[in-house]
């Protein structure tokens, strides 16, 4: 019962306390305006390069933008505590680490889901792309799974934040990596073979592919494999992230780097 409380209440309080984007002056430009302009940028580059349809870029970039809240906010659950000088207090509590850290991941994934959904709806309306009516509900599910998978990568990012100072630098680099590898803008089959293989193992690749299929009218059954792969990748990253958090927590105590800021 105590763990359930830590998971839900602790996660919510952490989100409200550390998620500095909750200020509308930050939330609106960062999460509602920026994804629209990312979509427009790549739609127009796509038109200029004569490569893919507008719908390809709208879906790809809407889902890929979930990486911003999922990566940055997860890292902030560590860096933010450090800035508030509360990280030490959190880590000496007897609370179980699994609900403590995964509870912080839940609001992050929920926000990532909302941001990607908003970007898809607003981006489609602005650019004028069509989504098959049968695809709406399954695409919402795909976005939820993709946001969860990306939050798994965010947990790894947060773990590194326990021993590294510049979490914003790493978050930006991971975001850039996903921009290249996830197939958001460059069809995966156009990537060099090595990048193609890496692409198969990163969050969002399968989610984006599934959403594109659904938008073009494919059935839910035809994307179950992609959806399953995205969920499995998310689980694997979340498990690795949690293990890394435990490992780096020990390391940061041993090396006295917890308060490195």
């Amino acid at each position: 019962m105590k763990s359930v409380r830590v998971f839900f209440v602790g996660g919510l309080i952490s989100y409200r306390a550390l998620f500095s984007w909750l200020n509308p002056w930050v939330y609106v430009p960062s999460f509602l305006v920026m994804p629209i302009f990312q979509i427009l940028l790549f739609v127009y580059i796509g038109r200029s390069a004569k490569l893919q349809s507008d719908s390809f870029y709208v879906i790809g970039n809407a889902l890929q933008f979930a990486a911003i809240p999922c990566l940055f906010a997860m890292a902030n659950t560590i860096a933010g505590e450090r800035n508030q000088q509360t990280l030490g207090y959190i880590l000496i509590t007897p609370a179980r680490r699994l609900p403590l850290f995964l509870g912080r991941a839940l609001p992050v994934a929920t926000n990532g889901f909302f941001v990607a959904l908003f970007a898809l709806v607003a981006g489609s309306a602005i650019v004028g792309t069509h989504v098959a009516a049968s695809g709406y509900a399954p695409i919402v599910l795909v976005i939820a799974v993709s946001a969860f998978a990306c939050t798994g990568l965010g947990l790894i990012n947060a773990a590194i934040g326990l021993v590294a100072r510049e979490t914003a630098v790493l978050s930006n680099i991971l975001f850039g990596g996903l921009l290249v590898l996830s197939g958001a803008n460059v069809p995966v089959h156009d990537l060099p073979i090595v990048l193609r293989q890496v692409s198969e193992g990163v969050p969002l690749t399968h989610g984006i592919a599934a959403a594109r299929k659904l938008a073009s009218g494919s059935s839910v059954g035809s994307v179950l494999g992609l959806l399953g792969a995205e969920a499995l990748i998310g689980l694997a990253y979340a498990a690795l992230g949690y293990a890394l958090i435990r490992g780096t927590e020990t390391l940061s105590r041993r090396r006295a780097t917890l308060e490195r800021a």
Partner: protein
Amino acid sequence: MRVARVLAYGWFFRMKMLMRSSFNSWLGVLYPLFFATVAFFMFKAGADSKPLLYSSLGAAVMGVWSNTATPAGSALAQERWHGTLELEVAAPVNFALILLPLTIAMSTIGIYSMAATLLWGWAVFGIPLQITDPVAFVLAVPATVASIGALGFVLAVAFVRFRQAWALGNMLEYPVWLISGFLVPLSLFPGWVRPISWLLAPTWGIRAIRGAALAGPSYGDIGMALGVGAAYVVLGLLLVQRALHAARAKGTLSLT
């Protein structure tokens, strides 16, 4: 002479400080490379007939703006966090002379990003760097950097009373990339976008650089970049006095 010394020393010390930050140095070089890579893949796989150097130059100048937009937005907030804003405002030197070299130093860091992007395009994607008019190119790069720095100056001044100004600066990164014609010809946009593009110094900067590299002399565009940049400086000078007066009158300079 005194003004020139303040600007030169200001630029030099700000450069040194910015280079100590991995966010402003390493990330400033690396981050635009991801966008450049995506653009190179897209143009390589696509059916567009423009030479890849067209996109390589555009992606290179994207880095200059990228290095200016967010840091300029948060320039005054940083001074607040360091506890130096009030001291700088109270100094006998005009505050604009302290702020302008800071934003120009930010855009100067973008030269590293430009060089890295052009090298990346050459080494990984085989994009040759052939410059038709080297003299114009050498003049166009600093003109572009200075004019983008001047745009950053206006942003920094305009956002003086916003606590979360970095988010507003960050938000402007994509729109300027988009409508300045870095990777997309302006002719693809609706007609009402073009007058907005003409007001942006990066539009003239990329035209000057691209013109020197691909077509020949582009001195007219260099002049436009410098002219628009000078207009930004004048606008910033006017704004800075009003913004500081308002912040002092309302006691909001040190918004924390």
